[in-house]
Amino acid sequence: MLLEVNGMKSSYGRIEALHGIDVQVGEGELVALVGANGAGKTTFLRALSGVQPLTNGEIRFDGADITKSKPQARVKQGISQVPEGRQVFGPLSVEDNLRLGAYRRRGADTDADLERVFETFPILKRKRKESAGTLSGGQQQMLAMGRALMSNPRLLLLDEPSMGLAPLLVGEIFNIVQMLREQGTTILLVEQNAFQALAIADRGYVIETGRIVLTDTGENLINDEKVKAAYLGL
């Protein structure tokens, strides 16, 4: 397993948000974590990136215990996150945003990676000199994804990439996620948009108020009566 999370607990003050999460992601897999608003999806991803402290449990990445690693060390080891709400560096140019994505690889030649990101997201090449804050929501999402890819991640964490986007753009973003996966990137996709996420996922987890309540292949989860009732509105 590339990523193994065992018994992860995390709290905001006295309120426990995650009550012991177990999740595994294998090399090359696309795993979806779906659940309602406030279920703990974002908390879980932040804990994986090291910006939200754990109160219990462990995180293993490629066999090594990274539970106590600093965020920058995790990026260096290959965990890269596209945060919820995109979080681009608004006043900085598109190109600067992307170059900062490769911050942990200073000294390495990142021009080739930049070109590869521009190939995946041609719109970013056309806007490379513009400040990121002037991009549309969909373009900012692409920029946030490109920025994360600039670190050459072994594991890409995607937090609600479809949030706040028009349906047409949502489709485009999911196409890109699938394409990245076909290129061999391991992806952990967190989504409220359960149907579309599970449709492209190898496996899925369903999270409810800080607990994993179901796990199966993406296909089986889509056909699961409980999931249908609770998340797919069918």
């Binding site: 990136s49 090291g50 910006v51 600093k70 965020p71 920058q72 995790r74 990026v75 260096k76 890269s80 996150q81 945060p83 979080q87 681009v88 560096f89 608004g90 006043p91 900085l92 600067d96 170059r99 900062l100 994505g101 911050y103 942990r104 200073r106 804050g133 002037t134 991009l135 549309s136 929501g137 900012q140 920025r147 994360a148 670190s151």
Partner: protein, 291 residues
């Protein structure tokens, strides 16, 4: 008439450049942490006093200057490491109060470690006055203006051309995203305090031959630098420089043409006017961003 005007102008530009350096220090720390560091003036004092006492102890002047600047930068590091970083999750207001405490400690320490007298340094390249269009300026004035200009250019290059500089900007814009791309945010904070302290110390060294220094000069210089930063738009380094120059020039003309009694009041009148009519300063963020 013209001579008088030029005289005031140069005197204003000189003190304005010093305010600009102090204001830059405020802007750097504010950008990285949203903290207003009220110990900024003490960095200026430490630079000047440190150089004076190292020189008095027999250290050659150029070396004394370098050691004083590096030493002050270390005080900046220490302030961040020992005070600011320890108070995890403290509110910005708490941190600001900590910097006020630090300024009092530094003044007290300087009183004990150095003394309470006024001290001066020899001008860097002699006291020979230079005649410019009927005004008499000292060579030290040119040092102040030249070095300030050089610092502004270097900082501009640092923030616009280097990845580390951009990482500092990115941290000030969005600390969470900065962490997620792997920027060591606590290092950025440490660096900002060190850079601010060094800037303050440089200002202190530059101004000491002109105005002399003692353990309390930091209070007024800190407030003036703060006014410069507010006037220019807090968090905008470029604005702090312009704000500092405007402040210095207004002060000099106010003292020359109105009354020198009100010289110090000018800075505070400007800051009040700025806060009343332009709360975000001349070049402050207006706060438009697409969500």
């Amino acid at each position: 008439m013209l001579g008088e005007f030029i005289q005031y102008l140069f005197s204003g530009l000189t003190s304005g450049a010093i305010y600009a350096l102090v204001g830059l220090g405020f802007a750097l720390i504010y950008n990285a942490s949203h903290v207003i560091n009220f110990a900024q003036g003490e960095f200026v004092m430490l630079g000047g006093m440190g150089t004076v006492f190292l020189a008095a102890a027999g250290v050659p002047l150029p070396l004394a200057v370098v050691v004083a600047i590096i030493g002050t930068a270390c005080v900046g590091f220490a302030l961040e490491k020992l005070a600011v970083e320890q108070t995890k999750n403290a509110s910005v207001v708490t941190l600001i109060i900590i910097t006020i405490g630090a300024s009092i400690v530094l003044r007290g320490a300087a009183q004990v470690l150095f003394d309470k007298q006024f001290h001066t340094l020899p001008a860097f390249s002699g006291d020979e006055p230079i005649n410019v269009l009927g005004a008499t300026i000292t060579s030290q004035t040119l040092w102040v203006l030249g070095i300030t200009a050089l610092i502004v250019v270097v900082l501009q290059w640092f923030f616009n051309r280097t990845l580390l500089g951009k990482a500092i900007l990115a941290t000030s814009v969005n600390p969470l995203a900065a962490k997620l791309v792997g920027i060591n945010v606590s290092f950025v904070l440490l660096l900002s305090f060190g850079m601010s302290a060094a800037l303050g110390a440089i200002a202190g060294v530059l101004i000491t031959p002109i105005t002399s220094t003692n353990f309390e000069v930091g209070i007024m210089l800190g407030l003036k630098g703060f006014s410069a930063a507010i006037l220019g738009g807090l968090g905008n380094p470029f604005g702090a420089v312009i704000g500092g120059l405007i402040l210095g020039i207004v002060e000099a003309f106010g003292a020359g043409y109105i009354s020198s009694e009100y010289k110090d009041a000018m800075a505070f009148i400007i800051i009040l006017l700025a806060l009343f009519f332009m709360p975000s300063g001349l070049f402050g963020k207006k706060g438009t961003e697409r969500v």
